[in-house]
């Protein structure tokens, strides 16, 4: 928009609801994330039975006072397993994102800063990995390593990093185009100083958006793999794995089906809301209306 920004009172009223709606989503996302973090660290303090305790006399019990969310096919408390799965599911997603970034950041930075042949070579290598659909390559890596939660983390990270490396490269390239970065260069600032003080601060906010949205997708993929039985292995409590265990019984015990899926959805939703809210906060463009 080319007009000078209007004082808040003069702005068209229709803008306000959207701004609040956008922040509302962000707020909801952050609250949900906070809740999950609390459960992850404080879940063991709750008065729940251990998630692995088997009670064969209470198999597939419907929700009751003793078991608020019922029990599974081995009589384990579903609520306890649900809470016990928070650190496993979220921890796995965090580990995956950390692995992805530890490859993608240096890769994209090097490509963008070195330019020329190095850039072409690095991007071509990334293209080769990107030529496979993500889940397909992750499946192959799991086929290579044998099914386990660690294998699925490595598989997803191995298939996922190239797209992020490309994004980092694009971010750095556009950040380097800014006039003040050139000015710093011309003023004789060292390469490291330009990178750390002028380029990195520019790419961190969009990177935060990307990381948040990618967390959501990674969480989905990891729980899908556990659901397929090639991620987290029993008896580890994990949401996808819980759903996999619920499959044969879901005619008799639909409660086993409902809550783990809801938990995955809420966690993914939290990261999506936080990511989109952050993006809206950073995006100052305003489209022309017809």
């Amino acid at each position: 928009m080319t007009d000078a920004p209007l004082p808040l009172a003069l702005r068209p009223a229709r803008r306000l609801p959207r701004r609040i709606a956008g922040r509302g989503g962000l707020a909801l996302g952050l609250v949900l994330l906070g809740g999950f973090a609390l459960l992850a660290f404080g879940g063991s303090l709750l008065p729940l039975p251990p998630p692995e305790r088997i009670d064969l006399l209470a198999r597939l019990a419907a929700p009751s006072g003793a078991h608020p969310l019922g029990t599974d096919h081995l009589g384990r408390d579903v609520l306890a397993r649900l809470v016990g799965a928070v650190p496993v599911s979220l921890g796995a997603a965090l580990a995956t994102i950390a692995a992805i970034l530890s490859i993608a950041l240096p890769w994209g930075l090097t490509a963008a800063l070195a330019g020329g042949r190095v850039d072409a070579l690095l991007m071509r290598l990334a293209d080769i990995v990107m030529a496979f659909p993500t889940l397909v390559l992750a499946l192959a890596v799991i086929g290579f390593m044998g099914a386990s939660l660690e294998a699925s983390i490595i598989g997803v990270a191995a298939a996922w990093w190239p797209s992020n490396a490309r994004m980092v490269r694009a971010l750095v390239l556009s950040a380097r185009q800014r006039d003040f970065v050139r000015a710093a260069r011309l003023a004789g600032a060292s390469r490291a100083r330009v990178l750390l003080r002028h380029v990195l601060p520019q790419i961190l906010p969009p990177l935060a958006v990307i990381v948040s949205l990618e967390m959501a997708s990674v969480l989905l993929v990891l729980s899908s793999l556990s659901f397929l039985g090639i991620g987290a292995q029993p008896p580890t409590p994990e949401w996808g794995a819980m759903l996999n265990e619920a499959r044969p019984h879901f005619a008799r015990a639909p409660h086993m089906l409902l809550v783990p899926g809801l938990a995955v959805t809420l966690a993914v939703l939290a990261f999506n809301l936080a990511g989109e809210g952050l993006r809206d906060l950073l995006d100052q463009r305003e489209p022309y209306r017809w």
């Binding site: 071509r124 990995v129 496979f132 889940l135 397909v136 099914a147 729980s223 089906l257 959805t265 993914v268």
Partner: protein
């Protein structure tokens, strides 16, 4: 155009070569001996002589580079060996399962495109309140895991209402639920992108000029914005098809749809390496073909690029 296609395919050769390297080495360097596994599966106690004989039969006794060269030579001619698990030729296994997956992915892609265009256009042109509702709906649908959605759909439509059945003979009627499951999430994700793209174009001066000329919203969308976003969207559709082929693994396994997803899950469980290799190669090739198609679309829809390609 022929020139462009030629160069595009030529520059893809290193990529395809690298892809074949990944497909071969990821599998052949894997721990776990497929020969021992097969012998155990047949219930025999393997003697070292048997093992050596079988290793020679599968060519596993040669150095890995020679094996790669031989494998690549055969793969180019479409020979991927025999499945260790079923004893049938890998190509036969793939050609049995491929049509079902292609049918599922194609119908899911068609569904996703329809949903995304409807969602994206509605989110941009509706008033603020409706747009906010649509955005919320989009975020929620994107966040629902497809395997859970599939189970819920089965619970409602198969077990409670009895409108659909859960078998895997691959008739079009059985395609409805899996296709809906697959297309909802990717449709919502694409819809988010359609909205982003339209919004970005609406910030440009040419959109402002079109509005100032008093053109109707439909005309602006179809004649001023659609030609500028169709290229990026085509690329996104190609990527989505890749995602759908992968995502099909989950949905196929839930609905018992007899496609490639079932095949690869079995192959992973049984460490059936020739099948895994062939699956990787076919997926890579399919993905390459769709992104080539997307690139051509980008060029055909961008007048500047079209002129450039036409001239040289």
């Amino acid at each position: 155009m022929t020139r462009f296609l030629f160069w595009r395919v030529l520059t893809a050769v290193p990529t395809l070569f690298g892809m074949s390297l990944i497909a071969f080495f990821i599998v052949s360097l894997a721990p776990g001996d497929p020969v021992l596994q097969e012998l155990r599966a047949m219930g025999s106690v393997p003697s070292p002589a048997d093992v050596a004989a079988l290793r020679a039969e599968y060519g596993l006794d040669k150095p890995v580079i020679l094996r790669y060269a031989a494998w690549l030579g055969r793969a180019v001619r479409g020979e991927f060996g025999t499945s260790i698990a079923s004893g049938r030729s890998v190509l036969a296994e793939i050609s049995i399962h491929l049509p079902a997956t292609l049918m599922l992915a194609a119908s899911a892609l068609a569904g996703a495109i329809t949903i995304s265009l409807a969602l994206g256009v509605a989110a941009v042109s509706a008033d603020r309140g409706v747009a906010a509702v649509l955005r919320t709906l989009t975020v929620v649908v994107v966040s629902v895991p497809s395997f859970w959605l599939a189970l819920l759909l089965i619970y409602v439509f198969v077990m409670q209402l009895g409108w659909a059945r859960l078998v895997g003979d691959g008739t079009p009627g059985d395609l409805v639920l899996p296709a809906i499951t697959l297309s909802l999430a990717s449709g919502a994700a694409l819809g988010r992108m359609v909205r982003e793209r339209i919004r970005a174009e609406m910030c440009e001066d040419h959109a402002r000029l079109a509005i100032a000329k008093g053109l109707s919203p439909a005309r602006i969308l179809l004649h001023h914005i659609a030609p500028r976003i169709i290229g990026p969207l085509a690329t996104a559709w190609a990527n989505t098809l890749g995602g759908l082929l992968g995502g099909a693994v989950i949905v196929e396994s839930i609905f018992g749809w007899p496609g490639l997803g079932q095949l690869i899950l079995q192959a992973i469980a049984q460490r059936d390496f020739p099948v895994i290799q062939a699956y990787l190669v076919f997926m890579g090739l399919g993905y390459f073909a769709t992104s080539l198609l997307a690139d051509v679309t980008v060029i055909l829809t961008d007048p500047q690029l079209r002129r450039e390609v036409g001239h040289d």
